[in-house]
Point group: C2
Chain length 307, copies 2
């Protein structure tokens, strides 16, 4: 019985090292060196080639190397009966909440503006808003902690999700009409949705048209949640006041992309929440043992639903 | 019975307006137009001239226009038996915690660094520290909330104060030796102390010498907590990694001051926590009524102790 790392075009040496440190006896293989395909009972996948998993007749489960599984949704030859789990831990959740708070607070408190003023030796105090309303899109494990943390700063937080949630201090809503009316009063909109066929391109002109003029968009979901041209148009029309983006349709963001250098776009290079290799290795090994022993897997994903 | 605003060189028109809106019947006077000095039972002070309060024989209490009372400590002719209160409300406390979190999180997450990289169209993800230790100096109403909020992000927080406090999740310490050993392991040091003869100049070369090389200093107390030349020397020697300063010995910070434009100093123009005039007016009127009616005052200050 072996565990296969199947991550084309991604350096997996750190993960291999962490797995071997945790479990020196592990029969670990790294694609495309798979050995006998019948040995493989567990795969760690990132962007595996569609159909590739059908090569492994003993495969019991696949772990997505990350919190999202959108990279697997295009595999229409995904083998039946193979379970899917995702990597998500307390560090990932905490770091994402930290990033989202950093984006909202630093904008509320004009952090970059004062940084620019200081270069010109200018002392120009200006008031910050007494309060702000934030709409958090997505109330999964990441979204709900981000929402609660924002609320702890006295911000007025509304959370939107497909199935209605209940979170202390947060007004939870569902459905497009409720979202549109929440957006009309929001100063910040933060996207922490999973990427699914339903949410792809959700941050588009029709959504921006519902937002309060001057509102600020934060995208830490996936690049494909956003229609990039629609954002540029909304900023040009002053429909939106600005945006903080950590994820992009193409990463690294190409050097000639109009987002770079845009005066109202803050760019970070996909660092909102970085996977902790040690923690991921421990989760992978736990899932592997559960799969081998036939015990129930944690953090299971429904590929039909997409999260 | 009248209330006097005594704030030389400071525009009090907003405060006057807010007091009149709250209490149209109030006998409100603005220094130096005091009318009959015997009418004055309550003074709102900011930097009143030493000895000036002795002119008012009926004076019962003085409110400091702000959370600190250091501007009164130089008045050695402060009349006996007159009580002192300070202005502090939930907004002020919350806003200060927000600022301190913004300073720590934006540094942890390289916010200004990515801002500068984006101007050069450079995609350079770099890892952030898995955790950080923060020493909060001062655990009064402002410091304790800031400490708790930092802790909610999974940071390791140690709080130092003159009298030992107990705050859930925070390791509380007192005394210089305990402070010095805490500083040796701290990534961040945030000063939220009151300014008193004991704390003036506390952020000096001897303190920096105890800090972990590369640590980051945040000062939101008063400018005179910091020996500015010692900070510049510690940054030049790479003893400290950087500093975020909201308060300065001279404000506005003079245009030729070496802090401006320093590559490792973030400057904000005394905006960490801005007084909300409506909230302050309500607090002043409450204190005024308590003083008039002989009821106990809230937020009393011991001028001997200095806070």
């Amino acid at each position: 019985m072996a565990l296969l790392i199947l991550m084309p075009n991604r350096d997996s040496s750190e993960l291999e090292g962490a797995l071997r440190r945790c479990e020196p006896q592990l029969d670990l293989r790294v694609w495309p060196q798979c050995g006998d395909p019948a040995d493989i009972v567990f795969v760690v996948s990132w962007n595996h080639p569609p159909g590739e998993l059908r090569r492994f007749p003993s495969l019991r489960a696949v772990a997505s190397f990350g919190a999202g599984v959108d990279h697997m949704l295009g595999d229409h030859d995904f083998p039946c009966g193979v379970e899917v789990v995702r990597m998500i831990d307390d560090d990932l959740v905490r770091d994402m909440a930290e990033y989202v708070c950093c984006a909202v607070l630093s904008h509320r408190r004009s952090w970059l503006h004062y940084h620019d003023l200081a270069r010109e030796r200018r002392w120009r105090p200006s008031p910050y808003p007494r309060s702000s309303r934030v709409v958090v899109l997505g109330l999964g494990r990441l979204g709900r902690v981000a929402a609660r943390r924002l609320h702890s700063f006295g911000l007025d937080v509304i959370g939107w999700s497909r199935s209605l949630k209940s979170i202390e201090g947060i007004k939870c809503i569902q459905g497009r009409p409720a979202l549109e009316s929440a957006l009309a009063g929001a100063d910040y909109v933060a996207c922490l949705l999973p990427l699914t066929p339903e949410t792809e391109g959700i941050l588009d002109a029709s959504l921006f048209a519902c937002m309060k003029p001057g509102a600020y968009l934060i995208n830490v979901g996936r690049g494909r949640h956003l229609i990039e041209a629609d954002l540029l148009a909304a900023l040009d029309q002053a429909r939106l006041g600005g945006a903080c983006l950590d994820v992009f349709v193409t990463e690294p963001l190409p050097a000639d992309h109009p987002f770079w250098n845009h005066p109202r776009i803050t760019i970070t290079p996909h660092v909102a929440s970085l996977t902790n290799q040690e923690s991921v290795a421990a989760q992978i090994l736990d899932s592997y043992r559960r799969a081998v022993e036939g015990r129930p897997l944690l953090n299971r994903v429904d590929l039909e639903r997409g999260y």
